[in-house]
Every structure is written in structure tokens, then in C-alpha cells.
Amino acid sequence: MWPMIETGAWVLSGLFALHMLWDWYKTDSTYSEEVLTSSREGEIEAMTEQHKL
């Protein structure tokens, strides 16, 4: 039984890795770099507060 489980672990590892790589390629080729790296720190804070007590 364990040799089969070992093989299953190799196969699943490959499938998860391939899925991530495929999605990564698809995402990077669909969206511009400007959109993907547009995240800026502190957006919510800038919108919701000015720290006036």
C-alpha cells in the first residue's frame, strides 16, 4: 500500500505545482505589470482616519 501512497504523493505534488505555474503564467500574460503591482500600503488607513482625537 505505501509504495502506492508514495507515488500518489509525487503525482499530487506535481499537479499542485503545475496548477500554480500554469495560473501564474496565465495571470502574468493577462494583466499588465502596472495592475499587478499597484498595491499600496496603508490605503484603508488613508481613507478612514486622520488620527485626530
Binding site: 507515488t7 495592475v35 499597484s38 484603508i44 488607513e45 488613508a46 482616519e49 488620527h51
Partner: protein
């Protein structure tokens, strides 16, 4: 805008600086708890017992409680600062705003190293656990651990890639199971009953009490950290919780309380079942002491529950480590401390997908190519360097922005006593680490000095200095 504050639950969304794709605010306090406790709880299942080997059962208890004080200070300090600096990156972002860029760069690296090494250590452990399960189920040949080590890292990376809500909900379920398993073992051991199998009086008397004296207590401090190492990771969820000012302190403080209970119960159960010589040998003796204790009870149900508890605690820790290391790496990329390419967010899953993917091969290299004790030591040392930064950070924070200038989600009590306590305990722990792992400590400090020089003389020229300070705080006092 002026009438709202950080505790607002009604305002959210992409903001004025041009964010088109950002991390998703979907988490609650329970997820924060699951992130913090999930990373740590594996330390209750294995690793802490090396403290027993260093100084005996009482030394491990003293180390457990001293480390508990250290981490209570960490949790309180972190809760106050991060309820105000509610952005991914946790302590890295705090350092950037409060201390300065060089400190921030170092803290960012401490975080990434601590979590990636811990993830690798967890994967190695998981491979070992599977091999034990194979032995127990009658496997005739030793199994190859590699596919299970690789599967654990790749599967959890895939889960993290697909979204933070599913990732931390998964962590919540398996962490809660692992914690309840410890409670079940304690209740099943019935220490209040005359028929209990716990034998503290026999196992802890005479020479077994403190076999190496007070020097053993000092040496045990190093592994006392293992009971709590990683609780500070809750701050990495700051940009993904719905209400940072409420959820982060609540989740973090509930987390440290959970760990104090789990650590004390774990110690109590294990030293009551196992002789200190066996318990303290985490390599050839009690590799997973709670599981060993369950085996001694003779109950099949307890063996299964604690077996799954060990497995789940290991998985939860690796899962939380991937989450935290990727957020720290992502934040450094977003600020140009590293190539901006790492600062990308997945437009559908809203996760830092490139940072998650980038750290997978690094974790695999350490998991497949480095010995477990070295991997764990580098994780502890990086964590310890991070804890040393925290008291400096909070003292500067209170001095530059006193309580009447910035509204906090949580204000930690008795300042500066927790900061002073934390720095004193860090100093003791450095000495303890130096006794056992002096070469690694020097090597690690040398490494951070070299990368600091690289950052100062080369990398910092790429940082957009005005862009990195994003919090709408007033000018610091004295500036």
C-alpha cells in the same frame, strides 16, 4: 474622514494612491488566533522537550514560564503597535515607520528566515511522522519521506496561493483540533484521581529534580522559546483582517493565553508519564512527547487523537509560516526594498502569489538538504533577533507618538516594564543560545551585517523614500 477612525467597520476599498489590486480584507479574530497559535502549537507536540534534556523537568517548567513572560510581552507590545500600523509585513512595517529603513530591512529578513526555516522544519517533521505511521501500519520497508515533504510544502503553498480565507479557515480547524487533543489527553489522564497513571512524585524527585543545577535552567531557556515561537506572526494578517484595531489585539492576546495553557498542560502531562532522560532526548527518545504519553495510556482512541493532533499541528505551523513569510517578502518588494516584482497581488485570489511561489523552492532546498536541528536553530535565532527589536520599537513608538497623538486599537499596560522585561529576557536567552549554538549565532549575525551593508550601499538607492511612509500620522514628537 476626520470623524472616522481605525476602528471603523464600514469603510474599506481600494484607495487614493492608485491601488487597483490589493490584498483582501476578509479575516476575523478567529483567523488571527489560528494563524498565531497554528504556527506555534507544533512546539508543544515536539521540540520543547529538548529543554528537559538540558536541565531536567523543573528547568523545563521554569523555562516554559520565563519564555511565557517573554512572549506575553511580545504579544502585548505587538498588539499595540500593529493595531496602529495595520499593514502586511508586520514587524517589518512597524520598523519602517518607527525606527528606519535599515532596521526594517533587517527585521523583514528575520521574519522571512524565521518562517521559511520553520516551514522547512515542519515539512521534515511531517515526512518523519508519515514514516512512523507507515511503520505502525505494518509497512515492510522504510518509506521514502521525500514525496511527503515535497507534497506538504507544495500543497500548502497552493492553498495559500488560492486565497487567504480558505487558508486560515483550514488552519483554524486543524489548530483547534490539535489544541483540543491536548485537553483531551489531560482530562483522560485524570490527575485528580487516585488511579491516575501520572507519576510526578516518582519521576521528579531526587537527582531528577534539577540534574544540572541552575546552569541547566539557563541552558533550558533556549528550548523554552519553542513553546511560543511564532505567536508574533499574527501581525502579518494586518492587511487582510476586516477590523485590524479589534481583531489583531483580540486574536493575538487570545493566542498567547491559549499557548500558556497548552504549554503548561503539555509539560504537566509529559513529565508525569515519561522519565526526564527519555523525555529530554528528542532524537532517540521522545520525538513527539505528547504522542508518546498517549501511547503509554494504552488507549487506542488517545493514540489516534494525539497522532492526528501531531500531524495537524505540524501542518498548521507550515501553513501559517508560508502565509507569514510571503507577506513579509511581498511587503519588502512593494516598498522596493527587494525587486518590485515581488510586490504583485493576484487579481483573482488577491494573494501575494509571486512571493508565495518564490519561497517554495527555498523551503524545499532546506527541507530536503539541511539537518532538522540546524534549520530550527536558524529559525529560533532569527526570531530572537526580531524580539530584540520589539522593545526598542515600542519605546521609540511611545516617545515619538505618545498616547495623546495617535489612537490605538489597544494600549498595553505598565509601559515600559514589558519592554524592559523583554529585552532582559532576550539577553538571557542570547547567553543560553551562545552556550549551545555559539557558532551558529555568530554566523547568523555576520550574515545580517553583510546583507545590511549590501542594503545600505546598494539597494536603498532603488527605494522611493517618500512612498514608503504611508500611515496618516502626525509628525513625530521632537521632529
Amino acid at each position: 474622514m476626520a470623524n472616522t477612525d481605525i476602528t471603523s467597520k464600514s469603510m474599506d476599498g481600494m484607495g487614493p494612491h492608485g491601488t487597483k489590486v490589493g490584498l483582501l480584507r476578509v479575516l476575523g479574530p478567529a483567523h488571527v488566533w489560528a494563524l498565531g497559535v497554528g504556527i506555534v502549537l507544533v512546539g508543544e507536540y515536539m521540540g520543547w522537550n529538548f529543554a528537559v534534556g538540558k536541565g531536567g523537568a523543573y528547568a523545563a517548567l521554569i523555562a516554559c514560564w520565563f519564555a511565557g513572560i517573554l512572549y506575553s510581552c511580545v504579544a502585548m507590545i505587538d498588539s499595540e503597535v500593529t493595531s496602529t500600523v495595520a499593514a502586511a509585513g508586520g514587524q517589518y512595517t512597524q520598523a519602517k515607520h518607527i525606527v528606519g529603513p535599515l532596521m526594517a530591512f533587517n527585521v523583514g529578513l528575520y521574519l522571512v528566515f524565521a518562517y521559511t526555516m520553520l516551514e522547512a522544519g515542519n515539512a521534515i517533521t511531517l515526512g518523519y511522522l508519515i514514516s512512523v505511521a507507515a511503520d505502525m501500519t505494518g509497512a515492510t520497508e522504510a518509506i521514502d519521506q521525500k514525496p511527503f515533504i515535497i507534497l506538504s510544502i507544495v500543497f500548502l503553498a497552493w492553498l495559500n496561493y488560492r486565497g487567504v480565507l480558505a487558508t486560515l479557515t483550514f488552519n483554524l480547524i486543524i489548530t483547534a483540533f490539535a489544541f483540543v487533543a491536548i485537553l483531551v489527553l489531560f482530562v483522560a489522564s485524570a490527575p485528580w484521581s487516585e488511579g491516575t497513571m501520572l507519576a510526578h512524585a516518582d519521576l521528579m524527585s531526587g537527582q531528577a529534580a534539577l540534574p544540572y543545577g541552575w546552569l541547566g535552567v539557563l541552558a533550558a531557556m533556549h528550548f523554552g522559546l519553542w513553546f511560543y515561537l511564532g505567536i508574533e506572526g499574527t501581525t502579518q494578517a494586518a492587511e487582510e483582517v476586516r477590523s485590524p484595531a479589534r481583531s489583531l489585539p483580540f486574536g493575538t492576546l487570545a493566542g498567547i493565553m491559549t499557548l500558556l495553557i497548552a504549554a503548561t498542560l503539555t509539560w504537566y502531562i509529559c513529565v508525569g508519564y515519561l522519565p526526564w532522560e527519555y523525555l529530554g532526548d528528542g532524537v532517540n527518545g521522545a520525538v513527539a512527547p505528547l504522542f508518546s504519553a498517549a501511547q503509554l495510556t494504552g488507549s487506542d482512541a488517545l493514540i489516534v487523537i494525539l497522532g492526528f493532533g501531531t500531524l495537524f499541528a505540524t501542518l498548521a505551523s507550515a501553513n501559517g509560516c508560508i502565509n507569514d513569510a510571503s507577506r513579509a517578502w511581498f511587503s519588502m518588494g512593494r516598498d522596493h526594498y527587494l525587486p518590485q516584482w515581488f510586490g504583485a497581488v493576484h487579481p483573482v485570489y488577491r494573494t501575494p502569489y509571486r512571493s508565495i511561489m518564490f519561497l517554495v523552492p527555498i523551503a524545499l532546498i532546506f527541507a530536503l538538504g539541511a539537518p532538522l536541528d540546524q534549520v530550527i536553530t536558524f529559525s529560533i535565532l532569527s526570531g530572537l533577533l526580531g524580539y530584540t527589536f520589539m522593545p526598542i520599537n515600542v519605546i521609540l513608538f511611545r516617545r515619538k507618538w505618545p498616547l495623546d497623538t495617535i489612537k490605538r486599537g489597544y494600549v498595553h499596560p505598565f509601559h515600559p516594564i514589558p519592554a524592559i522585561t523583554l529585552i532582559a529576557l532576550c539577553a538571557i536567552t542570547y547567553f543560553a543560545v551562545f552556550l549551545g549554538y555559539g557558532t551558529q549565532l555568530i554566523a547568523m549575525v555576520t550574515f545580517y551585517i553583510v546583507v545590511s551593508l549590501w542594503f545600505h550601499f546598494w539597494r536603498y538607492r532603488f527605494v522611493k523614500r517618500a512612498d514608503q511612509f504611508t500611515m496618516p500620522w502626525p509628525k513625530p514628537r521632537g521632529y
